[in-house]
Amino acid sequence: MELNSHIPSGPLSEKWDNHKFANKLVNPANRRKFSVIVVGTGLAGAAASATLAEQGYKVKTFCIQDSPRRAHSIAAQGGINAAKNYQNDGDSVYRLFYDTIKGGDFRAREANVYRLAQVSNNIIDQCVAQGVPFAREYGGTLANRSFGGAQVSRTFYARGQTGQQLLLGAYSALSRQIHAGKVEMYPRREMMDLVVVDGKARGITVRNHITGEIESHSADAVLLCTGGYGNVYFLSTNAMSCNVTAAWRAHKHGAGFANPCFVQIHPTCIPVHGDYQSKLTLMSESLRNDGRVWVPKKQGDTRPPAQIPESERDYYLEGKYPSFGNLVPRDVASRNAKEQCDLNKGVGSTGLAVYLDFADAIKRDGEQTILKKYGNLFQMYEKIVDTNPVNEPMMIYPAVHYTMGGLWVDYNLMTTIPGLFALGECNFSDHGANRLGASALMQGLADGYFVVSPAVANYFGSTPIDKVTADNSEFLASRERVNNRISKILKNSDKGPKGTVTVDEVHKELGKLMWDNCGMARNKEGLKNALEALPAIKDKFWDKVYVPGSGKDLNQSLERAGRVADFLEFADVMIHDALEREESCGCHLREESQTEENEAKRDDNNYSHVSVWEHKGEDEAPVMHKEQLAFENVTPSQRSYK
């Protein structure tokens, strides 16, 4: 597997401009001769579909939900970063770049992250022009707030629904192109396979969720914008249909999978409270602007929060990290919450929670001010937990949130398969080992609106592409593979449910194995045990799972089963990756690698690389390749938020 990152030469601040100039272009009149498939309609997918269609390419867009507006980007709450420096508090493109590289624990590519910071400003302008109702100051200018891992206010927001508003902006741009006939939209389709012809990505095989029909679609390039794989853990903040299938199928066709073990654990989620629970709900990190995190000083203190006097509370983040306080980055906040709970200072019925308290902020600014900032979040919390955060502190605990690993891509967002691009959370490139708040929305839109179109033009302009249609033999073979797999999943459906297990039961078992051994903290022994335990769960799935119904109509059990089957395979490479990385970095705490103060200890001498995995066959161990990371503009240092 050849890993050429194609990072342009020249000084950091000129790389992107130089690259765009050096890129091949496609004449506007010729663009209509090229077709592009976009899988997914989140920020990256909707933005890319709209932008490429505006430029004149023929676009076919696919989404798994009933409408492109439902993509999980819609659930992001807090905001989107940009280096506008509207607040004149010392922000700049370089500072946003620096914070993001440092926040990612120096495991991302400098050139990519710098470009992200550069185009962040264009994103805000673009979204404002689309009519995204960002929060405004009284004078009419855009309002900003601060987020974890930053000491400037650079986060733009639309109440607690920023992801929703940005997605609806991109969705409206996409809708305009659908109306204009430039985008053919295919909702309720799930990508089941990639089609590679003569070594290039030339199409996809999808299942129509309503009719069960297996369809072939061909194009000159394929863009995967399919999000992350956090649902491998069963419980996560991801929407139910987030999955790894599209990326995993691409991986099996030769696309390298980078840093699969890098998973972000978000510190402010509503804690788990029952074994029937289907997902975890995230409370925006912006709450930590005003909420103070604490636990009782005394171990096993079960008094209600109001009865614990100030002197017996431990505001552990403010104590340990005076300069960032409650706004330390996510990995630091998460790890410290776990540490307090491990010390038996956790609160709530399970002891797996800490308090996030707004009492001081309400005293300082008044209830109305706080409700104006966070009202919908308070309301959401109250609906779920049945207590009002105005009267009683919230309870929070870390949960699986965002995956920093993904398909390996070069500077052009192209995977190791020519013509196959990966955008947004689906790729690995910009967040390193940890993602700072308000940067996922930034990356999704940067990739979709601004980065991928020159990349696609360069690919079309520099690559001979033969005409291929969906009746090519590779498409037929792909449909057959998909049909066989569906038959295999449904093989027990005639025999009935006697003595069998359900898809969810296997998924929960896998999720627990991954959370316990490949979650917030990992060690060699646990990872090895998990690797040994995995085949039995896989066998249970293929031997005993009963999937009712047929493949010929709407069958949600079948849909889930297909995704869990891929999670089972994917978990294997995830654990391999975690085993190999014997350092702590970002959200990935390797227990063997800690400082004397129990902070994560990075090992730059041995692990300053991207781990890229190659699929070698069904029963063979995956092989790892390395992309060495070069830091020419920043010096990797121990991250300190004290």
Binding site: V128, R136, S175, Y276, Q379, K383, P497, D553
Partner: protein, 254 residues
């Protein structure tokens, strides 16, 4: 996780194989449901049980389970998204029900929302309304600086109130006329309040209203049922605004 307790329920659920098949209600007993469960988690528990019994699980749409994607939604005891105010079905919790209750669960019913299976309906008509004009026609790139157009914070807030619509379709399902006017007016309001939406203001109102009619939605006759069930408390004042926009556009453009 206050008042942890469990309840026993009878569920009366609409079952329909597909759009062409006749549907009917089926009854299911479900015991020991924790009141901390969400409504969809309760349906998960039912489906696990049905699967183990060799029966066909109930198909229902859902995705984020955080009340924001707008994909879930059924009529529960006659009310779209159920009895609790301002929540989607996924955020409705079982603490709203009592042991011994019979809960009637039906799909969102409207001529413009054909049933695909059980509780799953096709709401793509809403997408087509947006496609006909629910946007500002601006290409990517070449736009002015975000602060070049000041917008008073009250205006931005008012636009945001309208923009908060999640497109779930509860307004349509609860309207005796099957009108999509709350949905359509929310988008028209958001864009007509903002300076960015001015250039296409009239054309937008005309074409979105026209598409709404063409898709088979009815008209508003002030029942206000839409506003009552809306999980995002979108106000029917938007409908008044849309009507003004439409009339003005008709008089000056038509």
């Amino acid at each position: 996780m206050a008042n942890m307790s469990s309840i026993d329920l009878t569920l009366q659920i609409w079952r329909q194989r597909n759009n062409d098949a006749l549907g009917n209600f089926e009854f299911y007993n479900l015991d020991d449901i924790s009141t901390d469960m969400s409504f969809l988690e309760m349906l998960d528990v039912l489906n696990e049980k049905l699967t183990k019994e060799g029966k066909d699980p109930v198909a229902f749409d859902h995705d984020c389970r955080e009340g924001i994607c707008g994909q879930c939604g059924s009529v529960v005891n006659g009310i779209a998204h159920g009895p609790e105010k301002e929540v989607t079905l996924c955020q409705l919790h079982m603490r709203n029900f009592k042991s011994g209750d019979t809960i009637v669960i039906e799909p969102f019913r409207s001529r413009a929302f054909p049933v695909r299976k059980d509780l799953v309906v096709d709401r793509s008509a809403l997408d087509r309304i947006v496609q006909s004009g629910g946007y500002v026609s601006v290409n990517t790139g070449g736009v002015p600086d975000g602060n070049a157009t000041p917008i008073p914070s009250e205006t931005a807030e008012l636009a945001m109130d309208a923009a908060a619509c999640i497109g779930c379709g509860a307004c349509v399902a609860s309207c005796p006329n099957g009108a999509a006017m709350l949905f359509t007016s929310a988008k028209i309001s958001q864009l007509c309040l903002l300076p960015q939406g001015q250039a296409e203001r009239k054309q937008r109102a005309l074409s979105m209203v026209e598409t709404m009619d063409k898709e088979g939605f009815g008209n508003c006759s002030n029942y206000k049922a839409c506003e009552i069930v809306c999980p995002k408390s979108i106000s029917i004042r938007n409908i008044a605004r849309m009507n003004r926009e439409f009339v003005t556009a008709t008089l000056t453009e038509g």
